[in-house]
Each structure stands twice: as structure tokens, then as C-alpha cells.
């Protein structure tokens, strides 16, 4: 069975500092990996996705993520956080097929200090 673990429930970071959110997955085949962001009261916005190829993927809003197969990880990073990055972040894994059932991690809430 597939599963996703986000070890950090909350992270507080100062504006302008770097951010790294951890994601570990368990999946029996080649994983299709995603990061989503959910601002308060909003839906989920796709930040980036990994299917194959280059293990460092670039997304929107200055985010990037690195796929490490040996560690079963797909960590999200941003070099310099803005106050508008305060939100809940979800990592997800799926099969990349029709009826792609995404399994989500529990989320990491990011708070940004001025």
C-alpha cells in the first residue's frame, strides 16, 4: 500500500530565510510525486510534480523539490520565504494513470515570522 509521511507538523521560519519541508513515501512501483499548497480557506494548488528524468524539479512561486529514490524522499525547498508562503503544504504520491489515486501526507503548516 502506498503511504506518505510528512514528519514536521509545524514549521516556523523567518521571512527571507530558507525553507525545507520533508516528505517520505512508500510506493511499490515508480512513484509520481506532487507537492500542493493550501492557503487558509482555499483549495489545493499544485506547486510541482515529478514523473521521471531530472531529480531536481522546479515549480511555481520559487519552489523546488528533489527526488531521492535511495531515501524514498521528495523534499520541498525555497531559498527565501515570503510572508505569503504561510500555508499548509501537502506531499502526495500516485500512480500517474487514469484514476490516479493520490495518497496525501498529513501536511506541514508553515508559519512565517516577520
Amino acid at each position: 500500500a502506498q503511504s506518505v509521511t510528512q514528519p514536521d507538523i509545524h514549521i516556523t521560519v523567518s521571512e527571507g530565510a530558507s525553507l525545507e519541508l520533508r516528505c517520505n513515501y512508500s510506493y511499490g512501483a515508480t512513484p509520481y510525486l506532487f507537492w500542493y499548497v493550501q492557503s487558509p480557506g482555499q483549495g489545493l494548488q499544485l506547486l510541482l510534480k515529478y514523473f521521471s528524468g531530472d531529480t531536481l524539479v522546479q515549480g511555481i512561486k520559487g519552489f523546488e523539490a528533489e527526488f531521492k529514490r535511495s531515501q524514498s524522499s521528495f523534499n520541498l525547498r525555497k531559498p527565501s520565504v515570503h510572508w505569503s508562503d504561510a500555508a499548509e503544504y501537502f506531499c502526495a504520491v500516485g500512480a500517474g494513470t487514469a484514476g490516479n489515486k493520490l495518497t496525501f501526507g498529513g501536511g506541514t503548516r508553515v508559519l512565517v515570522k516577520p
Binding site: Q38, G43, E88, A98, G99, N100, K101
Partner: protein, 112 residues
């Protein structure tokens, strides 16, 4: 130019009632989904349709019945609402070949 839209955004109702949530996408995607997000923000898939055909039906009470009148619409009807049905329900759609999912704004259902 809304991509995935849901109505209503908020729904407050009493136990035992029947309610529906509507979802529409204008992205031209063939596959659509319903997810439930509970009070702890945990997201879990409920259903998936591909070209109006049900392809995923997770362990969901049969009080929940999805209906897809066409590829652009996926509605969710809930009978005999219970307190535990209170949650945010998200609709999503996805394109081939990799089927990344694009989510609607959610419908917050509160059962009193």
C-alpha cells in the same frame, strides 16, 4: 476563467437531510475526483470517474453517491447526513498522460 469550480462553497444542514454538491471543470479533462478533508486536514480520496465511468470507489458509505452527467461535471449526493460527514469536500480533475490533479476551492459541509 475558473478551472475547477464547486457549488456551494458552504453548506450547513441538519442530520438526516439529503444534500448535493456540484463540480464543474472547464479544462477538458476526462478524469474527475472527489476527496474529503477532515478537521485535521487529512485528505482522502472518495471517488474517481474517467469519461463518466466510475473507476475508483473507496470505502465510502453508500449514502454517498457520485454522478457524472458528462465529462465536465461530477456531482456528489449525500443521503441521510450524519455529524461525521462534516468536512471539506474537494473536487479535482486531471489530464493524461500523468494525471496530476487540479483541485476546486472546496465545499465546507457542516452537519448540525
Amino acid at each position: 476563467d475558473t478551472a475547477v469550480s464547486q457549488t456551494p462553497k458552504y453548506l450547513v444542514t441538519q442530520m438526516g437531510n439529503d444534500k448535493s454538491i456540484k463540480c464543474e471543470q472547464n479544462l477538458g479533462h476526462d478524469t474527475m475526483y472527489w476527496y474529503k478533508q477532515d478537521s485535521k486536514k487529512f485528505l482522502k480520496i472518495m471517488f474517481s470517474y474517467n469519461n463518466k465511468e466510475l473507476i475508483i470507489n473507496e470505502t465510502v458509505p453508500n449514502r454517498f453517491s457520485p454522478k457524472s452527467p458528462d465529462k465536465a461535471h461530477l456531482n456528489l449526493h449525500i443521503n441521510s447526513l450524519e455529524l461525521g460527514d462534516s468536512a471539506v469536500y474537494f473536487c479535482a480533475s486531471s489530464p493524461p498522460p500523468h494525471y496530476e490533479q487540479y483541485f476546486g476551492p472546496g465545499t465546507r459541509l457542516t452537519v448540525t
